[in-house]
Symmetry: C2
Subunit: 131 residues, 2 copies
Amino acid sequence: MNTQPRLTRNQDMVFRVLVDAKTPLSAYTILDQVREFGIRAPLQIYRALDKLQGWGMVHRLESLNAFIACARADCQRHEMVAFAICDKCRHVSEFSDAQVKAHLDNWVGDKEFLANQTAIEIRGTCRACAR
Amino acid sequence: MNTQPRLTRNQDMVFRVLVDAKTPLSAYTILDQVREFGIRAPLQIYRALDKLQGWGMVHRLESLNAFIACARADCQRHEMVAFAICDKCRHVSEFSDAQVKAHLDNWVGDKEFLANQTAIEIRGTCRACAR
DNA sequence: ATTCTTAATGTTATAGCATTACAGTTTTTT
DNA sequence: AAAAAACTGTAATGCTATAACATTAAGAAT
Ligand SMILES: [Zn+2]
Ligand SMILES: [Zn+2]
Ligand SMILES: [Zn+2]
Ligand SMILES: [Zn+2]
């Protein structure tokens, strides 16, 4: 998507909260953590998140209605990314798999479907939580 | 998941609405369509949807917060299913791809992640809407 | 520097999605 | 018949997201 400029004050606050978090956060949880810095409304969070997502710095986890900082260096490059989400501890592993991407691209190509964005989210239990 | 018994009154009403629909419906849209039959509260819809999902008769589209009747004969079998969702007309194509499943199984196997459920949702534009 | 233009911010209100808690009923099993 | 399990009804509440509008800040053009 668009290339990333210098972050504004709100964008920077939201991004920092997500980077520090060990688990995905909802927009309202982020809001709670930046209230002390003068942000008061959900919309301020959602606007910052929209920008950060556009720059590949943050991902939205559709099955959680939550957001997480990108775990990779430069995420707008690999464009199809998958998440393994632990339902016990909420740890999230981000990865990309070229072969999965190839197969899905293949399918949508056959159907002449124009793909914009793909969400792959695996819910389960991580190794640590499985003991 | 569990094998499907005879549907109760509420489950049957909700399922029929979804089967008749041409696009995914939110729980509240379903509610609107069954109010005339005496259902009044969202929870009655969500309870029916939970059961129907467990039996593989209905899928939840995470990126839409909406639900759709399964397009396949016996969906609890193939357990990893993907959706291509048109953002213009909301048409949804359900498909499964053994190779995608194999690659993702491979990844979670390496990480010793115990997968329960996988959501794959491709958002974009269908052939008809692309002209 | 001043105007023009675009992007970001602040605020309130509202819309949309989902669950908790509790009480009652029906169905199935023993 | 009694006990257990599944399903239903209802009200209240909580969480997630956007619409609408006014204001301010930042960048480009003259
Ligand atoms: Zn990423
Ligand atoms: Zn875990
Ligand atoms: Zn299905
Ligand atoms: Zn379409």
